[in-house]
Amino acid sequence: MKLLVDASFPRTLVHAPNSQGIEILRVEGDIGDDQLPQVASQRGCGGIVVAGHEMFTDLTLTRTAADLGIALFCSVEEDPFAAENSLRSALPQVQRILAHHTGGAWWLYRGGRLAQADLPDA
């Protein structure tokens, strides 16, 4: 089970201990937002974690992720270390979502709380 995290997360997430059996990969290079689902698919990832809630305004990103059955997680934390901590806390729930291969989109709030995002255009 693999999860692709955006480059705005520090690399300490990769090989993080207690990652619930999830292999965490980090985005490399300057690929476009709308390409993230393809990259995740090619690298065998069932989910993508991005930062900044504006990411869900990219309809190509959300539509493609939905088409490919890839789950989107969007951290609303602005501080990269706070976002990292929130993601670590959320990993057990992320693991369950990835295990069901359901795709979908979730907001990731402080402390690791996940809330399903309503994306009518996706």
């Binding site: 480059a7 520090p10 985005v27 300057d30 390409q35 990411m55």
Partner: protein
């Protein structure tokens, strides 16, 4: 060719390319093959007419006419500054004879000030320009400058058995018109010039497949380019490739070319920084339908097209010093940029938006033909002075940062990455101490110079209230 340059219509929207294309249309293939070197031979004859000489040199640079350099030798030997700067763009091409390269380097070493900055920036990729104009030029050139897959760099195959010289030059002109940096590459392909593998190469044998268009171009430029190529080639279906190094190519039909972030995703401070707009201008934007930001959780976000419109307003304000009507100009412009049809756009010095129709410029509002001087919208992407400061280059705000509307939703990022400068700024504030930059660089797999540059840009953005 001499007549074409001598009689070029300097009132046209692009005098150099218009003049060249006018001649190209009546040339045979054999004549077209000789055209690049012919330009080099005639330019020394124009030395007394600097404007015409610069027009010809502009062709050498924009069309990558490396064959012209041999003819330019008298000008280079005489230390002609314009010729040296033009030739500097070609000096790294393997097609330049070593002796000519030596002449160029020796003569160029006598330049000083901004000219020296530009010359060395074009010749030496490792040179760090000291002036703003030098930095801007370096950012805009290849192979010098900070080159990333976000660059609008396109290769065009040299003429071959199934690629006539005339068709080759027509493609080069179309690309230059679309705002691409063109490199004319041997048919052996990209490897011969040492281009990165992600650089798209256009030509019959380059792909034997749909023509590839760089996703690095903004939407308007992509549309211009696709429309231009569609006129030149009877291809059944043009495709837009989202090609990046190491990734499988994904093609989508042209008709599905969706402009991303139509909903608006660039926050206020970043818009202020990149559009050189104060808070009052952004507040007034809400009164104009095409400029009104998207509101989300009490915050405002703008699209890249809106950002360009606001930047035009700032540019015109700097030129005219009068704010009246400029927001309406920006508003009109955004609507045009959004239009589905490719429309060359410019503005007059009085602030009227003009569009090109049937080869001439017309005012958008009145439909009247415009005869005066205009500013092509592409110029708005370059840095310009403003009040006590300066507006940064829109797509490369600093030496190691870049902006692309589809990367991190248009936020300024460390060049070549998806890491917004704001992330680096916040990481640095959470990592105090003298080794903070080194630790942050390690955490984000960057070099320290990029971290420092990102910190500077981030600080400038945060300075906006």
């Amino acid at each position: 060719m001499l007549t074409a340059i001598a009689l070029a219509d300097t009132w046209s929207s692009d005098p150099a390319l218009d003049a060249f294309e006018g001649v190209l249309g009546v040339l045979s293939d054999d004549e077209a093959a000789a055209a690049p070197s012919s330009i080099g031979q005639i330019l020394p004859l124009l030395v007394a007419d600097r404007d015409r000489l610069r027009l010809g040199l502009e062709l050498v640079v924009r069309l990558d006419l490396v064959e012209a350099l041999a003819g330019l030798q008298p000008l280079l030997m005489a230390g002609d500054q314009d010729a040296l700067l033009a030739a500097a763009s070609q000096v790294n091409s393997p097609q330049v004879p070593p002796m000519l390269r030596d002449v160029l380097l020796v003569q160029g070493s006598d330049l000083d000030g901004w000219a020296r900055d530009i010359f060395l920036g074009r010749v030496d990729p490792t040179f760090a320009p000291e002036t703003d104009v030098g930095r801007a030029d370096k950012a805009a050139r290849w192979p010098t400058g900070h080159l990333t897959s976000g660059s609008a760099l396109v290769g065009v195959e040299m003429p071959s058995d199934n690629f006539s010289p005339k068709a080759h030059l027509a493609v080069v002109v179309a690309l230059a018109r679309a705002g691409c940096l063109v490199r004319r590459v041997p048919t052996q392909g990209v490897a011969a010039l040492g281009l990165p593998s992600w650089v798209p190469v256009i030509g019959p044998s380059a792909a034997a497949a749909p023509f590839r268009v760089t996703a690095a171009l903004d939407t308007l430029r992509r549309r211009r380019l696709l429309a231009a190529i569609a006129k030149l080639y009877p291809v059944a279906q043009l495709r837009l490739d989202f090609h990046r190094e190491g990734l499988e190519r994904r093609s989508v039909p042209l008709l599905d070319d969706i402009e991303v972030f139509d909903a608006g995703a660039i926050p206020r401070r970043e818009v202020q920084f990149l559009s050189a707009s104060g808070p009052s201008r952004l507040a007034r934007a809400k009164d104009f339908p095409a400029l009104a930001p998207r509101e989300f959780r009490g915050l405002n976000y703008w699209t890249f097209s809106q950002l360009v419109g606001l930047r035009v307003a700032a540019y015109l304000f700097r030129q005219s010093g009068r704010p009246r009507g400029l927001m309406q100009v920006a508003n009109d412009l955004v609507d045009v940029v959004r239009s589905e049809k490719q429309v060359p756009v410019a503005v007059t010095s009085t602030g009227a938006v003009v569009v090109e129709r049937h080869g001439s410029l017309h005012e958008l509002e009145s439909g009247q033909v415009v005869m005066g001087e205009v500013v092509a919208i592409d110029e708005i992407y370059q840095p310009f002075p403003l009040g006590g400061g300066a507006a940064p280059a829109l797509l490369q705000p600093s030496g190691r940062t870049a902006v692309h509307p589809s990367i991190a939703r248009g936020l300024p990022c460390v060049a070549g990455t998806r890491i917004p400068v704001g992330v680096i700024g916040k990481a640095l504030s959470s990592t105090p101490g003298p080794d903070g930059p080194a630790r942050v660089a390690n955490l984000f797999e960057l070099d320290e110079a990029s971290v420092e540059d990102a910190r500077t840009v981030s600080s400038r953005i945060l300075a906006y209230r």
